[in-house]
Symmetry: C2
Subunit: 204 residues, 2 copies
DNA sequence: GTCTATACACTGATAGAC
DNA sequence: GTCTATCAGTGTATAGAC
Protein backbone atom coordinates (compact mmCIF):
# COMPACT_ATOMS: atom_id res chain seq x y z
CA UNK A 1 0.00 0.00 0.00
CA UNK A 2 2.70 2.42 0.97
CA UNK A 3 4.41 3.45 -2.23
CA UNK A 4 7.74 3.97 -0.57
CA UNK A 5 9.29 2.17 2.34
CA UNK A 6 7.95 3.95 5.35
CA UNK A 7 11.36 3.90 6.99
CA UNK A 8 13.11 5.44 4.01
CA UNK A 9 10.34 7.98 3.78
CA UNK A 10 10.75 9.09 7.35
CA UNK A 11 14.45 9.47 6.79
CA UNK A 12 13.89 11.73 3.82
CA UNK A 13 11.49 13.86 5.81
CA UNK A 14 13.92 14.17 8.68
CA UNK A 15 16.80 15.15 6.39
CA UNK A 16 14.80 17.79 4.55
CA UNK A 17 13.35 19.25 7.72
CA UNK A 18 16.79 19.40 9.34
CA UNK A 19 18.21 21.18 6.30
CA UNK A 20 15.50 23.81 6.47
CA UNK A 21 15.75 24.22 10.23
CA UNK A 22 19.52 24.59 10.16
CA UNK A 23 19.42 27.18 7.39
CA UNK A 24 16.61 29.06 9.12
CA UNK A 25 18.59 29.14 12.37
CA UNK A 26 21.56 30.74 10.66
CA UNK A 27 19.53 33.31 8.76
CA UNK A 28 17.19 34.25 11.62
CA UNK A 29 20.16 34.58 14.00
CA UNK A 30 21.86 37.01 11.65
CA UNK A 31 18.96 39.09 10.36
CA UNK A 32 16.26 38.77 12.99
CA UNK A 33 12.67 37.72 12.36
CA UNK A 34 11.48 40.57 10.15
CA UNK A 35 14.85 40.95 8.46
CA UNK A 36 14.72 37.39 7.21
CA UNK A 37 12.88 36.45 4.02
CA UNK A 38 11.69 32.99 3.04
CA UNK A 39 13.80 33.42 -0.07
CA UNK A 40 16.95 33.64 2.07
CA UNK A 41 16.03 30.45 3.90
CA UNK A 42 15.28 28.78 0.57
CA UNK A 43 18.64 29.78 -0.90
CA UNK A 44 20.60 29.01 2.25
CA UNK A 45 19.02 25.57 2.63
CA UNK A 46 19.19 24.64 -1.04
CA UNK A 47 15.62 23.34 -1.09
CA UNK A 48 12.68 24.80 -2.96
CA UNK A 49 10.16 27.24 -1.59
CA UNK A 50 7.42 24.69 -2.07
CA UNK A 51 9.24 22.25 0.17
CA UNK A 52 9.66 24.81 2.94
CA UNK A 53 5.89 25.30 2.93
CA UNK A 54 5.40 21.58 2.74
CA UNK A 55 7.06 21.21 6.13
CA UNK A 56 6.09 24.48 7.79
CA UNK A 57 2.78 26.30 7.48
CA UNK A 58 4.30 29.77 7.73
CA UNK A 59 7.41 31.82 8.39
CA UNK A 60 6.12 32.45 11.87
CA UNK A 61 5.91 28.75 12.66
CA UNK A 62 9.50 28.22 11.47
CA UNK A 63 10.60 30.86 13.96
CA UNK A 64 8.49 29.36 16.74
CA UNK A 65 10.03 25.98 16.01
CA UNK A 66 13.50 27.47 16.44
CA UNK A 67 12.50 29.15 19.70
CA UNK A 68 11.15 25.81 20.86
CA UNK A 69 14.50 24.16 20.12
CA UNK A 70 16.37 27.07 21.71
CA UNK A 71 14.39 26.74 24.92
CA UNK A 72 15.08 23.00 24.91
CA UNK A 73 18.82 23.56 24.53
CA UNK A 74 18.75 26.13 27.30
CA UNK A 75 16.59 24.02 29.58
CA UNK A 76 18.82 20.99 29.07
CA UNK A 77 21.87 23.02 30.10
CA UNK A 78 20.16 24.22 33.26
CA UNK A 79 18.73 20.86 34.29
CA UNK A 80 22.05 19.14 33.67
CA UNK A 81 23.79 21.62 35.98
CA UNK A 82 21.25 21.37 38.74
CA UNK A 83 21.31 17.59 38.62
CA UNK A 84 25.00 17.69 39.44
CA UNK A 85 25.63 16.19 42.88
CA UNK A 86 27.08 18.69 45.32
CA UNK A 87 26.33 21.93 47.11
CA UNK A 88 24.24 24.79 45.77
CA UNK A 89 27.42 26.70 45.02
CA UNK A 90 28.89 23.80 43.06
CA UNK A 91 25.71 23.70 41.00
CA UNK A 92 26.06 27.38 40.22
CA UNK A 93 29.65 26.80 39.14
CA UNK A 94 28.53 23.93 36.95
CA UNK A 95 25.80 26.10 35.45
CA UNK A 96 28.35 28.74 34.47
CA UNK A 97 30.56 26.11 32.87
CA UNK A 98 27.78 24.55 30.85
CA UNK A 99 26.24 27.86 29.79
CA UNK A 100 29.66 29.12 28.74
CA UNK A 101 30.37 26.02 26.72
CA UNK A 102 26.92 25.83 25.14
CA UNK A 103 26.40 29.48 24.33
CA UNK A 104 29.90 30.50 23.30
CA UNK A 105 31.71 27.54 21.82
CA UNK A 106 29.08 25.01 20.81
CA UNK A 107 27.35 24.43 17.51
CA UNK A 108 24.25 25.29 19.55
CA UNK A 109 25.41 28.84 20.20
CA UNK A 110 23.18 30.25 17.47
CA UNK A 111 20.14 29.23 19.47
CA UNK A 112 21.09 31.77 22.10
CA UNK A 113 21.40 34.45 19.45
CA UNK A 114 17.96 33.57 18.10
CA UNK A 115 16.61 33.92 21.63
CA UNK A 116 18.06 37.45 21.70
CA UNK A 117 16.29 38.20 18.44
CA UNK A 118 13.06 36.89 19.95
CA UNK A 119 13.48 39.08 23.01
CA UNK A 120 14.15 42.26 21.05
CA UNK A 121 11.56 41.68 18.32
CA UNK A 122 9.05 39.49 20.12
CA UNK A 123 6.46 42.20 20.48
CA UNK A 124 5.59 42.04 16.81
CA UNK A 125 5.17 38.26 16.82
CA UNK A 126 1.86 37.45 18.50
CA UNK A 127 2.07 34.95 21.32
CA UNK A 128 5.84 34.66 21.24
CA UNK A 129 6.49 36.38 24.52
CA UNK A 130 3.86 34.32 26.30
CA UNK A 131 5.33 31.17 24.78
CA UNK A 132 8.80 32.01 26.08
CA UNK A 133 7.44 32.85 29.52
CA UNK A 134 5.60 29.53 29.66
CA UNK A 135 8.51 27.38 28.59
CA UNK A 136 11.35 29.37 30.13
CA UNK A 137 10.37 28.54 33.70
CA UNK A 138 13.76 26.98 34.41
CA UNK A 139 15.24 30.45 34.92
CA UNK A 140 13.26 30.52 38.16
CA UNK A 141 15.46 27.77 39.57
CA UNK A 142 18.38 30.11 40.19
CA UNK A 143 17.13 32.37 43.04
CA UNK A 144 16.56 29.51 45.55
CA UNK A 145 19.98 28.14 44.66
CA UNK A 146 21.54 31.53 45.35
CA UNK A 147 19.67 31.72 48.64
CA UNK A 148 21.12 28.38 49.71
CA UNK A 149 24.64 29.39 48.68
CA UNK A 150 24.28 32.60 50.67
CA UNK A 151 23.57 30.66 53.84
CA UNK A 152 26.73 28.62 53.33
CA UNK A 153 28.66 31.86 52.79
CA UNK A 154 29.78 31.12 49.25
CA UNK A 155 27.40 33.47 47.48
CA UNK A 156 27.47 37.18 48.14
CA UNK A 157 24.71 38.90 50.07
CA UNK A 158 21.76 40.64 48.45
CA UNK A 159 18.29 39.90 47.12
CA UNK A 160 18.50 36.51 45.36
CA UNK A 161 16.06 37.66 42.68
CA UNK A 162 18.19 40.69 41.84
CA UNK A 163 21.38 38.63 41.88
CA UNK A 164 19.72 36.12 39.58
CA UNK A 165 18.74 38.91 37.20
CA UNK A 166 22.27 40.26 37.26
CA UNK A 167 23.64 36.81 36.47
CA UNK A 168 21.27 36.49 33.51
CA UNK A 169 22.08 40.04 32.43
CA UNK A 170 25.81 39.27 32.31
CA UNK A 171 25.12 36.13 30.34
CA UNK A 172 22.81 37.78 27.83
CA UNK A 173 24.99 40.87 27.68
CA UNK A 174 27.97 38.76 26.70
CA UNK A 175 25.89 36.94 24.09
CA UNK A 176 25.22 40.39 22.63
CA UNK A 177 28.87 41.39 22.70
CA UNK A 178 29.73 38.11 21.01
CA UNK A 179 27.74 39.22 17.97
CA UNK A 180 30.46 41.62 16.96
CA UNK A 181 33.51 40.16 18.68
CA UNK A 182 33.82 36.62 17.44
CA UNK A 183 36.71 35.60 19.66
CA UNK A 184 35.33 37.07 22.83
CA UNK A 185 35.05 33.54 24.21
CA UNK A 186 38.84 33.30 24.31
CA UNK A 187 39.00 36.27 26.66
CA UNK A 188 36.50 35.15 29.26
CA UNK A 189 35.88 31.99 31.27
CA UNK A 190 32.93 30.48 33.14
CA UNK A 191 34.38 32.21 36.21
CA UNK A 192 33.36 35.54 34.67
CA UNK A 193 29.74 34.57 35.27
CA UNK A 194 30.25 32.84 38.61
CA UNK A 195 32.19 35.82 39.97
CA UNK A 196 29.09 37.97 39.80
CA UNK A 197 27.53 35.84 42.53
CA UNK A 198 30.67 34.97 44.52
CA UNK A 199 31.19 36.15 48.05
CA UNK A 200 34.58 37.79 47.94
CA UNK A 201 34.13 39.58 51.24
CA UNK A 202 35.77 38.85 54.56
CA UNK A 203 32.72 37.45 56.34
CA UNK A 204 33.14 33.97 55.00
CA UNK B 1 10.55 86.99 -1.18
CA UNK B 2 10.12 84.71 1.75
CA UNK B 3 6.39 84.11 2.08
CA UNK B 4 6.73 83.24 5.71
CA UNK B 5 9.03 84.77 8.28
CA UNK B 6 12.24 82.86 8.12
CA UNK B 7 12.26 82.45 11.86
CA UNK B 8 8.79 80.98 11.96
CA UNK B 9 9.78 78.73 9.08
CA UNK B 10 12.74 77.31 10.93
CA UNK B 11 10.58 76.69 13.93
CA UNK B 12 8.09 74.72 11.87
CA UNK B 13 10.85 72.62 10.39
CA UNK B 14 12.23 71.86 13.82
CA UNK B 15 8.83 70.93 15.19
CA UNK B 16 7.99 68.62 12.30
CA UNK B 17 11.35 66.92 12.36
CA UNK B 18 11.15 66.44 16.13
CA UNK B 19 7.68 64.93 15.80
CA UNK B 20 8.92 62.43 13.23
CA UNK B 21 12.07 61.61 15.17
CA UNK B 22 10.21 61.06 18.40
CA UNK B 23 7.63 58.79 16.78
CA UNK B 24 10.35 56.88 14.93
CA UNK B 25 12.24 56.36 18.17
CA UNK B 26 9.24 54.79 19.84
CA UNK B 27 8.33 52.54 16.93
CA UNK B 28 11.88 51.41 16.12
CA UNK B 29 12.53 50.66 19.80
CA UNK B 30 9.49 48.43 19.97
CA UNK B 31 9.57 46.65 16.62
CA UNK B 32 13.19 46.79 15.49
CA UNK B 33 14.44 48.10 12.18
CA UNK B 34 12.86 45.60 9.80
CA UNK B 35 9.75 45.20 11.93
CA UNK B 36 8.97 48.90 11.59
CA UNK B 37 7.12 50.31 8.59
CA UNK B 38 7.07 53.89 7.39
CA UNK B 39 3.32 53.70 7.76
CA UNK B 40 3.70 53.09 11.49
CA UNK B 41 5.98 56.09 11.85
CA UNK B 42 3.54 58.19 9.82
CA UNK B 43 0.57 57.18 11.96
CA UNK B 44 2.47 57.49 15.22
CA UNK B 45 3.80 60.94 14.35
CA UNK B 46 0.59 62.28 12.87
CA UNK B 47 2.35 63.84 9.90
CA UNK B 48 1.90 62.82 6.27
CA UNK B 49 4.00 60.30 4.43
CA UNK B 50 5.18 62.98 2.08
CA UNK B 51 6.49 65.08 4.92
CA UNK B 52 8.49 62.20 6.31
CA UNK B 53 10.23 61.87 2.95
CA UNK B 54 10.69 65.61 2.85
CA UNK B 55 12.84 65.47 5.96
CA UNK B 56 14.45 62.06 5.52
CA UNK B 57 15.57 60.44 2.28
CA UNK B 58 14.82 56.90 3.43
CA UNK B 59 13.81 54.64 6.28
CA UNK B 60 17.45 53.71 6.67
CA UNK B 61 18.50 57.33 7.18
CA UNK B 62 15.82 57.82 9.84
CA UNK B 63 17.30 54.88 11.72
CA UNK B 64 20.84 56.20 11.29
CA UNK B 65 19.71 59.54 12.63
CA UNK B 66 18.35 57.85 15.75
CA UNK B 67 21.57 55.90 16.22
CA UNK B 68 23.45 59.16 15.90
CA UNK B 69 21.33 60.70 18.66
CA UNK B 70 21.63 57.54 20.76
CA UNK B 71 25.41 57.67 20.57
CA UNK B 72 25.32 61.34 21.54
CA UNK B 73 23.15 60.63 24.57
CA UNK B 74 25.44 57.79 25.58
CA UNK B 75 28.60 59.78 24.99
CA UNK B 76 27.26 62.70 26.99
CA UNK B 77 26.58 60.42 29.94
CA UNK B 78 30.09 59.00 29.81
CA UNK B 79 31.89 62.31 29.40
CA UNK B 80 29.86 63.89 32.18
CA UNK B 81 30.89 61.09 34.55
CA UNK B 82 34.53 61.20 33.66
CA UNK B 83 34.65 64.97 34.04
CA UNK B 84 33.59 64.58 37.64
CA UNK B 85 36.36 65.69 39.97
CA UNK B 86 37.64 62.89 42.14
CA UNK B 87 39.33 59.51 42.03
CA UNK B 88 38.99 56.93 39.27
CA UNK B 89 36.67 54.91 41.49
CA UNK B 90 34.45 57.91 42.14
CA UNK B 91 34.19 58.42 38.40
CA UNK B 92 33.10 54.82 37.95
CA UNK B 93 30.47 55.30 40.65
CA UNK B 94 29.28 58.44 38.91
CA UNK B 95 29.14 56.59 35.59
CA UNK B 96 26.88 53.93 37.09
CA UNK B 97 24.61 56.58 38.54
CA UNK B 98 24.28 58.49 35.31
CA UNK B 99 23.86 55.40 33.14
CA UNK B 100 21.22 54.06 35.50
CA UNK B 101 19.32 57.32 35.48
CA UNK B 102 19.60 57.87 31.74
CA UNK B 103 18.91 54.34 30.53
CA UNK B 104 16.27 53.24 33.00
CA UNK B 105 14.31 56.22 34.18
CA UNK B 106 14.84 59.00 31.67
CA UNK B 107 12.86 60.01 28.64
CA UNK B 108 16.08 59.13 26.83
CA UNK B 109 15.87 55.47 27.83
CA UNK B 110 14.45 54.47 24.44
CA UNK B 111 17.74 55.46 22.82
CA UNK B 112 19.41 52.61 24.64
CA UNK B 113 16.77 50.19 23.39
CA UNK B 114 17.27 51.40 19.83
CA UNK B 115 20.99 50.76 20.27
CA UNK B 116 20.13 47.18 21.21
CA UNK B 117 18.06 46.88 18.06
CA UNK B 118 21.00 48.20 16.07
CA UNK B 119 23.34 45.67 17.63
CA UNK B 120 21.09 42.69 16.94
CA UNK B 121 19.99 43.72 13.45
CA UNK B 122 22.91 45.81 12.34
CA UNK B 123 24.30 43.24 9.96
CA UNK B 124 21.50 43.84 7.51
CA UNK B 125 21.94 47.61 7.53
CA UNK B 126 25.04 48.44 5.49
CA UNK B 127 27.57 50.62 7.21
CA UNK B 128 25.74 50.70 10.54
CA UNK B 129 28.22 48.61 12.47
CA UNK B 130 31.17 50.63 11.19
CA UNK B 131 29.33 53.80 12.11
CA UNK B 132 28.77 52.63 15.69
CA UNK B 133 32.38 51.53 16.01
CA UNK B 134 33.60 54.92 14.80
CA UNK B 135 31.40 57.01 17.05
CA UNK B 136 31.25 54.73 20.08
CA UNK B 137 34.89 55.24 21.00
CA UNK B 138 33.98 56.51 24.46
CA UNK B 139 33.50 52.93 25.65
CA UNK B 140 37.29 52.67 25.46
CA UNK B 141 37.62 55.13 28.32
CA UNK B 142 36.60 52.57 30.95
CA UNK B 143 39.56 50.12 31.00
CA UNK B 144 42.21 52.72 31.97
CA UNK B 145 39.86 53.97 34.68
CA UNK B 146 39.50 50.45 36.04
CA UNK B 147 43.26 50.03 35.94
CA UNK B 148 43.72 53.14 38.06
CA UNK B 149 41.06 52.06 40.54
CA UNK B 150 42.76 48.67 40.84
CA UNK B 151 45.99 50.30 41.94
CA UNK B 152 44.18 52.22 44.67
CA UNK B 153 42.56 48.96 45.78
CA UNK B 154 38.98 49.97 45.13
CA UNK B 155 38.42 47.95 41.97
CA UNK B 156 38.74 44.20 41.96
CA UNK B 157 41.65 42.48 40.30
CA UNK B 158 41.53 41.09 36.76
CA UNK B 159 42.10 42.16 33.17
CA UNK B 160 40.65 45.70 32.85
CA UNK B 161 39.42 44.96 29.33
CA UNK B 162 37.47 41.92 30.50
CA UNK B 163 36.09 43.77 33.50
CA UNK B 164 35.03 46.60 31.22
CA UNK B 165 33.25 44.12 28.95
CA UNK B 166 31.51 42.57 31.92
CA UNK B 167 30.38 45.99 33.09
CA UNK B 168 28.95 46.76 29.66
CA UNK B 169 27.41 43.29 29.51
CA UNK B 170 25.55 43.84 32.78
CA UNK B 171 24.34 47.20 31.57
CA UNK B 172 23.17 45.96 28.19
CA UNK B 173 21.79 42.77 29.71
CA UNK B 174 19.63 44.81 32.07
CA UNK B 175 18.47 46.98 29.19
CA UNK B 176 17.29 43.75 27.57
CA UNK B 177 15.54 42.54 30.72
CA UNK B 178 13.85 45.92 30.99
CA UNK B 179 12.08 45.25 27.69
CA UNK B 180 9.72 42.80 29.37
CA UNK B 181 9.88 43.91 32.98
CA UNK B 182 8.85 47.53 33.03
CA UNK B 183 9.49 48.16 36.70
CA UNK B 184 12.83 46.46 36.85
CA UNK B 185 14.38 49.83 37.62
CA UNK B 186 12.66 49.84 41.00
CA UNK B 187 14.46 46.63 41.96
CA UNK B 188 18.00 47.63 41.10
CA UNK B 189 20.25 50.59 41.84
CA UNK B 190 23.41 52.07 40.29
CA UNK B 191 25.28 49.95 42.84
CA UNK B 192 24.22 46.86 40.88
CA UNK B 193 26.55 47.97 38.10
CA UNK B 194 29.33 49.32 40.30
CA UNK B 195 29.40 46.10 42.33
CA UNK B 196 30.61 44.16 39.32
CA UNK B 197 33.87 46.11 39.49
CA UNK B 198 34.15 46.58 43.26
CA UNK B 199 36.91 45.02 45.26
CA UNK B 200 35.04 43.23 48.01
CA UNK B 201 38.07 41.18 49.08
CA UNK B 202 40.17 41.53 52.20
CA UNK B 203 43.29 42.99 50.55
CA UNK B 204 42.12 46.55 50.60
C1' DG C 1 -1.20 3.28 -11.20
C1' DT C 2 -0.67 5.40 -6.75
C1' DC C 3 1.48 8.05 -3.33
C1' DT C 4 4.62 11.53 -1.58
C1' DA C 5 8.68 14.55 -1.77
C1' DT C 6 9.82 18.25 -4.36
C1' DA C 7 9.75 22.24 -7.71
C1' DC C 8 8.29 26.67 -9.30
C1' DA C 9 5.34 30.03 -11.56
C1' DC C 10 1.92 32.60 -9.77
C1' DT C 11 -1.13 35.79 -6.74
C1' DG C 12 -2.59 39.36 -3.71
C1' DA C 13 -1.00 42.36 -0.39
C1' DT C 14 1.95 45.67 1.24
C1' DA C 15 6.42 47.64 1.67
C1' DG C 16 9.49 51.75 0.62
C1' DA C 17 9.95 55.55 -2.19
C1' DC C 18 8.69 59.91 -4.33
C1' DG D 1 -1.88 59.47 -3.35
C1' DT D 2 0.60 56.61 -6.67
C1' DC D 3 4.01 53.61 -8.37
C1' DT D 4 6.91 49.57 -8.38
C1' DA D 5 9.35 45.89 -6.19
C1' DT D 6 9.10 42.31 -3.26
C1' DC D 7 7.11 39.87 0.31
C1' DA D 8 4.51 35.62 2.26
C1' DG D 9 1.92 32.19 0.82
C1' DT D 10 -0.50 28.85 -2.90
C1' DG D 11 -1.87 25.90 -6.72
C1' DT D 12 -0.42 22.76 -9.71
C1' DA D 13 2.75 19.88 -11.95
C1' DT D 14 6.50 16.44 -11.93
C1' DA D 15 9.72 12.81 -10.52
C1' DG D 16 10.46 8.57 -8.75
C1' DA D 17 9.71 4.75 -5.37
C1' DC D 18 6.74 0.94 -4.85
Amino acid sequence: MSPRGQERNEKMRAIAKTKITKAALEVFAEYGYHGTTIKQIVQSSGVSKGLVYHYFPSKERIFFHLIELALEVSKKAWIKSLDTPGTAWQKIEKLSQILFKTAFTDENSLYFVVMLQAITQGKSIPGLFEYIMMHGAHYGLLPPLIHKAQKSGEARQGDPDVLSSTYLAVFQGYTLLLLHDKDLHTKITPETFTDVLRNRGRNK
